[in-house]
């Protein structure tokens, strides 16, 4: 696998050197460094629908431990977290299901053709510069057709040196330690190869025993300890960036990762100390992103990515003939995209995106037909914009065709997803916007949906999500105060839901289900510059959600709130920056939820609040800075589950030392 990735990387570098040759001929102009203080008006405010973003710096200052920890504090988000460092973490936006959320890294989508859901545990907060969650199409007109076609997008941007220290190299070393054997050393090195070309490499290793204590409702006086929750992981990135003329750039990224972990599973009565499932993953990708404005009217972004993911699942039990099960899964995807942006007039922009992806799944599972899928996506986006109005309309056409090594392939899929957004600036020159959106998102059945344990593929239609949303967003500066807020109401309807349902004694995935989702999402970001060196920032998010099952009037769950969907949820964060010790406090509050469709007491999981406290200070020694951060998560030691019988960690302590040269 490593050899294949290296070969691809070499090929890419060759093409890269050709592409960048022109860049060295361009002259550069260095401007004086200007420090800007205050809260810039985030592009979230200007989006046509709910958009939220956070930098890793902000997230870490508030004590957030990973990507999912940051995402779960956003409005309209339901994160399913099975607990622990390696526990699977998926994100569902506005209750449409995790498979409706596209995840992209540096503008290129991440795929999981096997199960459809992207596990956020595979990304590191330390390696990430910023996280942006968008329901609409965002400001970016150069997106891929795949991300445009998704109901929501979580965009991660990889951290890259900013060359603030005036040197042509940058080094950051960090070590983090925490409760239950958590150790996480990491190293990042950046080198300017020329005035326009830079290289960055980072590596991170993390391990944890994960044996945190918990209690269960059926035996509240006894303390148990999570077992088989250990994890060892390593991740590395290497990125080469060349700036081109006219704001263009080429990024080539190589990524490798490995992980070895236990799967603690749900807490089973009388078997609290037994769990035997293990998981090994290895993977990597090579990614190229090329962006260039050729003329004032034409701009192009092209991406290419090859991904390789291998996974081994192991379990023990007497039901297996040999006493154990061992399943290997290999996923590969080659993805290319080109998006052209044409701006014939200052009021009009048109973009056309074309994607092509080839995805394969190979497994040692006897019933796996080793499917291969071609996905072609075409997206046309038209935007009309003046000082007050902005109208964006797009249509995404997707064609999916499959073949299998064994058995019978599913018939082709063809789907058109339209969307439209309208944004209106309420007061000329002010950042206060009214906005409305319609968007159709859909998801094609995954390989698991279609072929798992099936001699003949299930005849499934794509799941369809229709979204209507309207709201107001604004930013206001008054003296020392800066305010940014968003309030959006929405109504979504998801039809042809893909759900696993029983056929007497076995389960099969069927298009069976319909949901009606309504709610309100609100965010607030307030900053006060108390003195020149002291500032306070308050962030808040709140969601009200009414997510109802509309499948069958005859069953008890009809019109009931969907499982794991709280009616109320929110978060608050307060960060006080000062010359002495920065203080961060954040809190997540989630209301009661039901674990099953029927809304009865027996299925109720109580709500919870989770508080995090962080203290940090940066010591500066000439051009070197030492950052010390201490944080306490789950301050009040609240015992709670996000997924029932997957207890979340109790109070934990983390300390982090970071040196930047």
């Amino acid at each position: 696998m490593l050899k294949r990735l290296c070969n691809i990387l070499l090929l890419v570098l060759f093409a890269y050197s050709t592409m960048c040759a022109q860049a060295h001929r361009d002259s550069t102009r260095v401007i004086d460094e200007v420090e800007v203080q205050g809260l810039a008006v985030k592009s979230d405010i200007k989006a046509g629908a709910l958009s939220q973003s956070i930098t890793s710096e902000e997230a870490e200052a508030l004590g957030m431990q990973d990507i999912s920890d940051a995402v779960r504090r956003m409005a309209g988000v339901t994160v399913k977290d099975y607990g622990g460092l390696g526990g699977m973490k998926t994100v569902s936006v506005r209750n449409m299901g995790a498979a409706h959320t596209a995840v992209s890294v540096d503008g290129v989508p991440v795929s999981n053709c096997q199960g459809g859901q992207i596990d956020l545990a595979q990304f590191s907060l330390w390696q990430t510069e910023s996280i942006t969650l968008s329901v609409g199409s965002s400001d970016d007109m150069l997106q891929t057709a795949r991300t445009l076609g998704a109901a929501a997008t979580l965009a991660l941007k990889t951290k890259f040196p900013e060359w603030k220290n005036g040197r042509n190299w940058e080094l950051e070393a960090r070590v983090k330690g925490g409760s239950w054997g958590e150790v996480m050393p990491a190293l990042r090195y950046g080198q300017k190869l020329s005035s326009r070309t830079s290289l960055m490499a980072d590596v991170l290793v993390a391990r944890s025993d994960g044996d945190y204590p918990y209690t269960v409702t059926y035996e509240p006086d006894k303390t148990f300890y999570r077992v088989n929750d250990d994890i060892l992981q390593g991740r590395g990135n290497i990125q080469l960036r060349t700036l081109l003329k006219r704001d263009g750039h080429v990024d080539v990224t190589g990524h490798l990762s490995m992980q070895r972990q236990g799967l603690p599973g749900a807490v089973i009565r009388y078997r609290e100390t037994a769990a035997s499932e293990r998981l090994w993953t290895r993977g990597g990708y090579v990614q190229v992103l090329y962006e260039q404005r050729y003329t004032p009217k034409w701009k192009l972004r092209a991406t290419g990515k090859y991904t390789y993911d291998w996974q081994r699942y192991y379990d023990e039990g007497r039901q297996y003939r040999d006493g154990f099960a061992e399943n290997d899964y290999t996923q590969q995807e080659a993805f290319v995209n080109a998006t052209a942006l044409w701006t014939p007039h200052r009021l009009l922009s048109v973009s056309l995106a074309q994607d092509a992806a080839n995805t394969r799944l190979v497994s040692n599972l006897a019933t796996c037909p080793d499917p291969m899928r071609w996905t072609l996506g075409t997206a046309l986006t038209v935007r009309l914009e003046n000082e007050r109005w902005r109208l964006t309309a797009s249509a995404v056409y997707t064609h999916v065709t499959e073949s299998v090594e064994k058995g019978e392939a599913h018939e082709d899929y063809n789907h058109v997803s339209p969307s439209a957004e309208l944004r209106y600036r309420l007061v000329k020159g002010k950042s206060v916007f009214l906005r409305a959106m319609y968007k159709n998102g859909y998801r094609v059945p995954t390989f698991n949906d279609l072929y798992y344990q099936r001699a003949v593929p299930s005849n499934l239609r794509p799941e369809n999500a229709h979204q209507l949303s309207a709201g107001i967003a604004g930013a206001l500066t008054s003296g020392r105060w800066q305010w940014q807020w968003q309030v959006d109401g929405y109504w979504n309807r998801v039809t042809d839901k893909l759900v696993a349902i029983p056929t007497s004694y076995v389960w099969q995935v069927r298009n069976y289900g319909e949901t009606s989702l309504a709610g309100v999402d609100a965010t607030l970001n307030v900053r006060m510059q108390v003195t020149r060196r002291i500032a306070a920032q308050l962030t808040g998010a709140y969601s009200w959600s009414r997510a109802l099952d509309k499948t069958d009037e005859e069953v008890a769950s009809y019109n009931g709130q969907l499982p794991y969907t709280p009616a109320h949820s929110g978060s608050v964060g307060l960060l006080v920056s000062n010359p002495w010790v920065n203080v961060g406090w954040s809190m997540v509050a989630v209301g009661d939820r039901w674990v099953l469709p029927e809304n009865i007491d027996r299925n109720l999981v109580e709500g919870y609040t989770d508080h995090t406290l962080t203290l940090s200070h940066e010591f500066r020694l000439k051009s070197c800075s030492l950052d010390v951060t201490a944080s306490m998560t789950n301050v009040f030691n609240t015992q709670y589950d996000i997924v029932r019988y997957y207890p979340m960690p109790s109070r934990a302590y983390h300390i982090q030392l970071s040196i930047k040269l």
Partner: protein, 361 residues
């Protein structure tokens, strides 16, 4: 000493006072009428797949028609109970997920304890004084109900399901085997065990993927689940009659659940049409003496399109209890008299009501 004498005198005086009291004295409340006729039904809700610990243990008073969860046993019931059986006043529940046996004594206020067996227990059969438990991995446990001693027999089978005892032999459904790569092989034998020696005998060939088995009138009736369409050719659910003496198996017709009712064999077949998402369930009564079968109309309005998950006979009244499920919502149990008349229904207070036992106080 004086103090003790004084207490004794008081006690004697109080006894005289009580014994001389008027029986019609309105101050003394009448003692409650003992419920000598009440049969208690105890049943399990298997819980929902992939939702750990959602199982429950419930009771239903057949006289007052009140169903309730039993708090204490519920708090201690293991995960994914698979089968239950009553011996005297003790209810034994095989908990597959928790790998053990829940024992609930229902003679008085129910009390329970859990016996961890570290086996993937499935189904139960009893012949004094032993409880026989089929397990995955082809093992049969013999649990001595008098002292808790356990003996294990490793049979030639793979994953054993339903068990039945006929004469001195135990018959266990040998359903399937699965290798490390999840390559399923659906088997078609009944494992036989001589109960006198607790040794394995020759297996009997029967339907594919046998899961349920009952003994009636000298024969065995087995429901095989087929191959679920996971392989071709498709093999459907099938009921077979097995003659244990001649060692022959004869297919009868499609069935997915069975029980003995009024000394006859009642079997149900639930089939779902995936184009309309509708399930059709039919009930058939088979008379082993005459070899005749007849369809039975059991509240077709409610049961005609339900997935039948439980069928149990109350041996004291011959009433029939049919539990239905949709695997995610609270189940419902329908009650019928011996002549098929509907006697109402009640909530199962849990998901997937699967088995019941009856106890007359």
């Amino acid at each position: 000493m004086k103090k003790n004498l004084w207490l004794l005198a008081c006690l004697i005086a109080s006894m005289i006072f009580v014994s001389c009291g008027d029986d019609d004295d309105p101050v003394v409340p009448p003692s409650p009428e003992p419920e000598v006729d009440a049969t208690m039904m105890y049943f399990i809700n298997e819980g929902s797949w992939n939702v750990a610990n959602s199982a429950s243990f419930c009771s239903y008073n057949t006289k007052t028609n009140v169903a309730s969860l039993l708090e204490e046993p519920t708090a201690k019931i293991g995960d994914t109970p698979q089968d239950m059986l009553i011996v005297g006043s003790k209810v034994y529940v095989a908990c597959w997920g928790s790998k053990g046996l829940l024992i609930v004594d229902v003679a008085g206020e129910p009390t329970s304890r859990f016996v961890s067996l570290n086996e993937e227990v499935r189904y139960l059969a009893y012949k004094a004084p032993y409880l026989y438990i089929s397990c995955y991995g082809g093992r049969i446990l013999r649990y001595d109900t008098t002292n808790g001693d356990t003996r294990t027999l490793q049979t030639s089978g793979s994953n054993l399901e339903g068990v039945a005892i006929l004469g001195d032999k135990l018959y266990a459904c040998n359903s399937y085997s699965v290798d490390a790569a999840f390559n399923y092989t659906y088997l078609n034998t009944l494992i036989t065990v001589d109960l006198n020696t607790f040794t394995e005998g020759e297996p009997i060939t029967t339907v594919t993927n046998p899961n349920y088995i009952v003994a009636l009138d000298g024969a065995l009736y087995v429901v095989g689940f087929g191959n679920y369409g996971y392989a071709e050719p498709y093999e459907p659910y099938m009921l077979a009659k097995v003659d244990p003496v001649a060692r022959t198996s004869t297919n009868m017709e499609s069935a997915s659940k069975l029980c003995v009712w009024n000394n006859k064999l009642l079997y149900a077949y639930s089939e779902t049409d995936w184009t309309t998402y509708s399930t059709t369930t039919t009930f058939t009564l088979y008379n082993p003496a005459s070899g005749r079968k007849a369809s039975v109309s059991l509240d077709s309005k409610h049961l005609g399109n339900a997935i039948v998950y439980m069928m149990e006979e109350d041996p004291y009244s011959n009433d029939l209890y049919v539990g239905v499920t949709d695997n995610s919502n609270t189940g419902k149990i329908y009650r019928f008299s011996a002549n098929t008349a509907s006697l109402g229904s009640f909530s199962s207070e849990g998901i997937n009501p699967s088995h019941a036992v009856f106890y007359k106080k």
